[in-house]
Structures are given as C-alpha cells and as structure tokens.
C-alpha cells in the first residue's frame, strides 16, 4: 500500500514539474529578448535616438525619429480603413452570416491569417506600387491591412458571439430596429473584447517588416507626403542591422528596444480594457 502511494505521489510531482517547466519555457523567450534588448540597446538609447534623423556612418548621434513617426503614420493609416471594415465584417459574420458566403468569408479570413506576411508585401507591390510607379505609405498601409483585417474580423465575430441571445431579444422587444440593436447594444456589450482584439492586431502590425519592404520601402529623411516612400522602425532596424558598421548595429538594438516597448505598451493597454467588465 505505502510504496504504491509513494510512487503515485512522486509521479504526480513529476508531472506537475513537467507542466511548470513547459510554462516557463513559454514565457522565457519574452524575458530573454527583452533583457537582451535592454542590455544591448541601452548604449544608444538616448534622446537623440528619438529625435534625430539617421546620420551617415561614422557621424556620431543620429536616430530613428523619422521611423517612429513613419510607423505611427502607417499604423494609423492602416487602422483608418481597416477598423471599420473589419468590425463591420465581423458583425456581418456574427449576426447575419449563416450561408455559404459567410463560411467562405470565414475560411478566407482564417487562411489570410496564416499567409506569410512577405506575400502581403509582394501583393501590395503589385497592386499599388507598380501602378502608382512609386513606393508609398499608402502601399505600406494596404499591405498591413491584409494582415490586420482578417485578425480583427475573427476576434470581433468571436466577441459578438459571446453576447447572450437574451440581450438581442430584450432590445428587439423594445421596438428597436435590428441594425440599431446590433450597433448600439450588442456591439456595446462586446466592446471591451473587440477593442482588445483591435489593440492586439495593432501591436502585431506595428512590428511587421516584410510587408513594408516592397511597399513603404523606408526613407532616411522626413516624409510628409503619403504617396512617397516613408520610414518605419522595423525597416530602419533592418537597415541598421544588415550594415557592416558597429555603431549602426547598436542603433539597431536600440530601435528594436523602442519597438518592443511600444508593442508591450499596447498589449498592456489591451489587457487593461480586456479585464474591465460590465
């Protein structure tokens, strides 16, 4: 009796330890990446990084200010048309989508989520860069939309499906039209979940590099026009990192640190909204 019980307890402990080890393995990369970035990026993490344009090799100072602004511009541009499109499409799928068309949309969105992001870049190149005969913020935003929209469509749909049926019924029974019921009551009920989905998708596109390579291209200078090549942090990091110069490498690390800090900030905001209930 006693030996069996001992063995069972030991096995139980072993299994528990295994689960814990795997959990640690999952969060470990985030910490390793973050601390490695902090150590290697700290050297160049100074005000000039955030306010200066890139300087030529060898010249001290220089930063990624245009990249930071460019990333914000491209991200906002992407969200300007992607948020309404994706949310309304999610509403369609959750509230009206029963037939074959809806299944096709769902399947397409799921497939799009798995398509390698460089393909979105190539697609943006063919669709916008070639006809417009120039790289541009527009093309970058179009490529990022193709990553952003499918993710938000599916999270919006999932969040709307968590709204209990009795909420719909209560609203309809008050003589509220169906579209108003959906837009003002059902969406409102699911709003924190939808917002969380939008923020997480935003964090995702913030760091995408491949779709921008053939579309936004990158720029060493300020760019105020949306139909011209524009800088972005990931592109700038890429440029710095593949260069053969030591001081550019340091700037690449610092740029990466800025990028991951932005992503972390957005994720934390998303968590904050996701937790707030009722």
């Amino acid at each position: 009796m006693e030996t069996v019980s001992f063995r069972r307890k030991a096995l139980d402990r072993c299994m528990k330890a295994l689960f814990c080890v795997c959990a640690v393995l999952v969060i470990l990369p985030l910490f390793v990446i973050f601390f490695d970035l902090v150590i290697k990026g700290a050297k160049e993490l100074k005000p000039s990084l955030l306010i200066d344009l890139p300087h030529p090799v060898g010249e001290p100072g220089g930063g990624i200010a245009n990249g930071i602004v460019g990333t914000i511009v491209i991200t906002l541009l992407t969200m300007l048309w992607s948020v309404p499109t994706a949310v309304l499409c999610g509403i369609y799928l959750a509230e009206y989508g029963r037939g074959k068309f809806a299944s096709a949309v769902r399947f397409a969105a799921d497939t799009m989520t798995g398509v390698p992001s460089i393909i979105m870049g190539i697609f943006g190149y063919i669709l916008l860069v070639v006809p417009m005969k120039r790289f541009s913020a527009w093309a970058g935003a179009a490529a990022l939309s193709m990553i952003f929209i499918p993710v938000v469509v599916r999270t919006t749909e999932d969040m709307l499906r968590t709204v209990p049926h009795h909420v719909h019924e209560a609203a309809l029974a008050l003589g509220i039209e169906r579209w108003k019921t959906i837009l003002y009551i059902v969406v409102r009920t699911a709003s924190s979940g939808i917002l969380t989905g939008i923020l997480l998708a935003m964090a995702r596109i913030l760091g995408e590099t491949a779709p921008l390579l053939f579309t936004a291209l990158g720029n060493q200078f300020w760019q105020t026009r949306l139909d011209q090549p524009i800088a972005a942090i990931p592109l700038q990091v890429f440029t710095y990192a593949i260069s053969p110069y030591e001081d550019w490498h340091d700037k690449a690390w610092a740029g990466a640190l800025v990028l991951i800090a932005m992503v972390l900030l957005i994720s934390l905001t998303a968590r904050f909204f996701g937790r707030e209930k009722k």
Partner: protein, 253 residues
Amino acid sequence: MESVLEVKGLSAWFGGHQVLTDIRMDVGRNSVTSVMGPSGCGKSTFIRCLNRMHDLTPGFRSTGEILLDGVNIQSERIDPVNLRRRVGMVFQQPNPFPRMSVFENVAVGLKLNGKKLTRASIAETVEKSLHMAALWNEVKDHLDRPGLSLSGGQQQRLCIARALAVEPEILLMDEPCSALDPVSTAKIEELIEDLSERYTIVVVTHNMQQAARISDSVAFFLLGELIEMDKSGKIFTNPSDKRTEEYITGRFG
C-alpha cells in the same frame, strides 16, 4: 368587456413540428390574462406570437389571425418594429443590458426609437417609468450604477420599467417571477395588479396559485391547444373541461 386582442385560429410550427393548434382567444382591454399550463404546452410560443418575436427564428411558421384593435398583426405589411413599441415584453430571466446604467437601461428604448427627445423629457420619462415599476425609491440615488448590480427582483422591475418607458399599450410577461424569490415575486404581482389599470397584461405562468392571485381571466393550454378560457374565479372553482379540472387539482403537470 371590450377586446383589444382577438386571436383567430392561430397555429404555429417550428419546422415540421406543430406547437400551436387553432388557438382562439379574446383579451380584454386593461385586464390581466394568465396563460397557464404544464411545460411544453406552447404558452411561451403563444405570447411570443403576439409581438412577433418569432420573426427571426429560422423555420418558424404560423397561420391564422391576431387582431390588435381590429388590425391583423400577422400580415406581412405590419412592421414588427412598430408592433413591438405597442406590445412590450418582459422575459423570464431578468435581462438588463450589460454595460448600461440603471438610467440608460430605461432610456435606451426611447433614445433608439428615433424620436427627437430632449434630455429633460427623457429624464422625466425614465423617472415616471421607474415610479410605475415601483423601483424609483430604491434606485433614485444611484441611477448611474450598472443595471446588473441590482438584485434579481430589482433587475426584473428594471426590465418592466424599461418596457414601460416606450409607452406600450399591452405588456407581455413570460414567466416574470419564475427566477425570483417569494418577496420579489409578491412585489411583481402587486405591480401587475397596479399596472392593469392602464395596461392590458398577458402573463405566462406555470404556477396556478399565481394565476389565481393576479388574473381576471385564465387560459389553460395543453399540448399546444387552448383547452379552456374563462374568468379566473370560474376556472379554479368550476372548470368546464375535465382536463382543466385534472390539472388544477394536481392530477398531472
């Protein structure tokens, strides 16, 4: 008594399954009518026909006429949205809108009904509705709290206030007390009696004692058929149909 609702030969199906068979019933203005019967007898299906809540249920089909002030509301030409503004509904589970305050819960029907109303007139209607639902005194100091923070009985009265705010003529109540404790139930029953001075009320219940306490007329449903409908006093003391007698004496159900 003047009839406000006349149901003529109403039958209903979910897919191939018939749930209501040839229901005929008159509902008097400003009276309380109870629809009682064992579970699955079609009583909920029946009152949900009265405000066309089945419109969005796939596979639902119904025949026959339901006349509201002489107009057939079964007709394709009747807009269910307008109908539901005249025929309000309270559900079995209290269902205040999540993420909305007590005030917003009552005001939302008015705001989304497309009429241009001033802030003051909305506030006035909200207060009036909460008074009518006998909830005002309990919530007047925290109208901005979430509707879901109220107790179950308060939530149900909030739902009644919400329905009254759009000023319906008829109030349908689908087992409004079955999820509530006895004290809350007593409050709602008292409220039903008060409201019947101004509204026509149709209540679904599977609680015979409740039907006896609150109603002017009682309709007894069994397996999708209306077995008998009569004055409340008559049905519980001297029913004409044997099945009604068996049900109220507890032989089945």
